[in-house]
Symmetry: C2
Subunit: 314 residues, 2 copies
């Protein structure tokens, strides 16, 4: 097998699928200065794709284009074979249909040079289930973006049972080189990480609407004017770390642990064992690094003000 | 009973409890130009309270003080009776202890003029359970803030079984006049709204850490660099409204409804009946008002860019 190009030496990427996600990826890669080759079997794919790229370009320009970035670097191809010609990386963003993805990944695997990593945008399927028809499944991997991929930094990277460990490492390094915020998971979990958290919140919201406990507008405003103002800079864990005062997460769990038994959501909590308590406390301390609680409080105030201002809420 | 002052004519408010929440309320009311009378039985309460107010004052100054706002308008009182003298409104922020709150609310009810509304910051207890010892429970109500109360706009207002309907209305109008984003609930639900959503997310996160599926840092970053970048302006419902493309929430639910059965969180979803589907779709359409999907997409891009910039992530 010929050597794979280094993650930061990738010059040409292929986007398979030209819907909102595939088009968003194409726009992002173009803005980062890559050559982009795209293919989608739909007859109006080129028109739609160029429309998506054009629509996102003002935002990408405002955020700052990489040197050499241009929409002219987009080549819309007539066939899959043409789209993977000379490529260094493939991102698949076809509709969420397991059989379709199985077949498509096998076709990409068949068509692309053997050293090229093939990543899937799937938000639902484990790669273990999608890579089954591939002749070379070791180079297939999930690289799950968040909508819109041209603005939201997060990419969750996770391999399937047959994915090579080296491919996991390469893919994470590639997305980082491409400017993404990468979370590399060491196992397949349905929904990955962010969607599991989002889905728990969404299901609780649906229950509340169903029971007449809250309206759609109340649910949205309870987040946008409440905890949502903190989550772009301190996630839910660090937010609770601050809720513990100077004692941080340790105080929070030791004193408010019993509230895990309260009926404050329909989701039962895990038992707060010493192991779980310590893992959460140590994780918060590691994440806080050298920031004291006072530092984090000052950071919270500064960032909430910045967000209130940015949103026109100040 | 003498007439209650109009919600927008309140001049003097009383803060009972000088911890982080009570102190945050005092700072907020001072910045809004109110006279604030405070009481806390702790011996070092005045020192702590003035420290809290001083610590929050730069942030409040940056956001803009109301005319006449001054830290000199804070009077720390030696007794509860003194603290409620001549007040137009009482906000109670004592520790979360049901017996303590029951007794304290009864004492405030005993001491305060009969036309004064008494609001509790409780994050956990229904007013029905707290107002039982009050002689005049009709004027007791929950006004649940989010930490820090001097920066986060949200206040959830909900009465207990004995609370007068007119008091619910008055309290919501008062908090609105004081510049808060008010959600008025028509029934008591454990955890109110925002904390139920937050708690569902938090419990799913604890399960993931417990099962070794994600680290504390991964959980936080999956939100801060992912959906958290959208939640300060479009809540979870409107976010999914956009996930449906031009078809909005209707398309989203009709096509992705089956994913409610996916094991993407440990929380089971409610059955997606026609009634629930319609309530969610109509709620999103009402919330979107005259904004088309294209308008919302443009708004999303603009706001995500503003947040990325404000957070230094752009």
């Amino acid at each position: 097998m010929s050597a794979r190009v280094a993650p930061d030496a990738v010059r040409t990427v292929t986007c398979i699928g030209a819907g909102v996600i595939g088009g968003g990826w194409a726009a992002y890669f173009l803005a980062q200065g890559y050559q982009v080759r795209a293919w989608d079997p739909a007859p109006d794919a080129e028109e739609k794709l160029r429309h998506l790229v054009d629509a996102s370009w003002p935002a990408l320009t405002e955020l700052g284009l990489a040197e050499g970035a241009s929409r002219d670097n987009l080549t819309v191809c007539a066939t899959l074979a043409e789209a993977v010609e000379g490529t260094d990386f493939v991102q698949e963003s076809a509709p969420e249909d397991l059989e379709l993805k199985r077949k498509l990944l096998a076709d990409i695997d068949e068509a692309a040079a053997e050293n090229v990593v093939i990543s899937s945008s799937t938000s639902g399927y484990p790669m273990t289930d999608m890579q089954t028809a591939c002749a070379r499944p070791g180079r297939t991997i999930v690289g799950h973006p968040f909508n819109p991929p041209y603005l939201i930094p997060l990419v969750e990277v996770v391999g399937g049972e047959q994915t090579d460990a080296e491919v996991v490492e390469w893919t994470s390094a590639f997305f980082e080189a491409a400017g993404k915020s990468v979370i590399t998971m060491d196992r397949e979990v349905p929904g990955f990480i962010a969607n599991r958290l989002q889905e728990a919140l969404w299901r609780e919201a649906l229950h509340m609407i169903n029971a007449g406990e809250a309206t759609v507008e109340q649910i949205d405003r309870s987040i946008t004017d409440g905890p949502g103002l903190r989550w772009p800079f301190h996630g839910p864990m660090l937010t609770f770390h601050l809720a513990g005062g100077q004692g941080g997460m340790a105080h929070m769990l030791d004193h408010f642990g019993p509230s895990l038994l309260s009926p404050w959501t329909r989701l039962d909590a895990p038992e707060l064992t010493k192991e779980l308590r310590d893992a959460v406390v140590e994780g918060c301390e590691e994440e806080a690094e050298d920031r004291t609680i006072d530092d984090l409080v000052a950071e919270r105030d500064r960032q909430v003000i910045a967000i209130l201002r940015a949103m026109g809420k100040a």
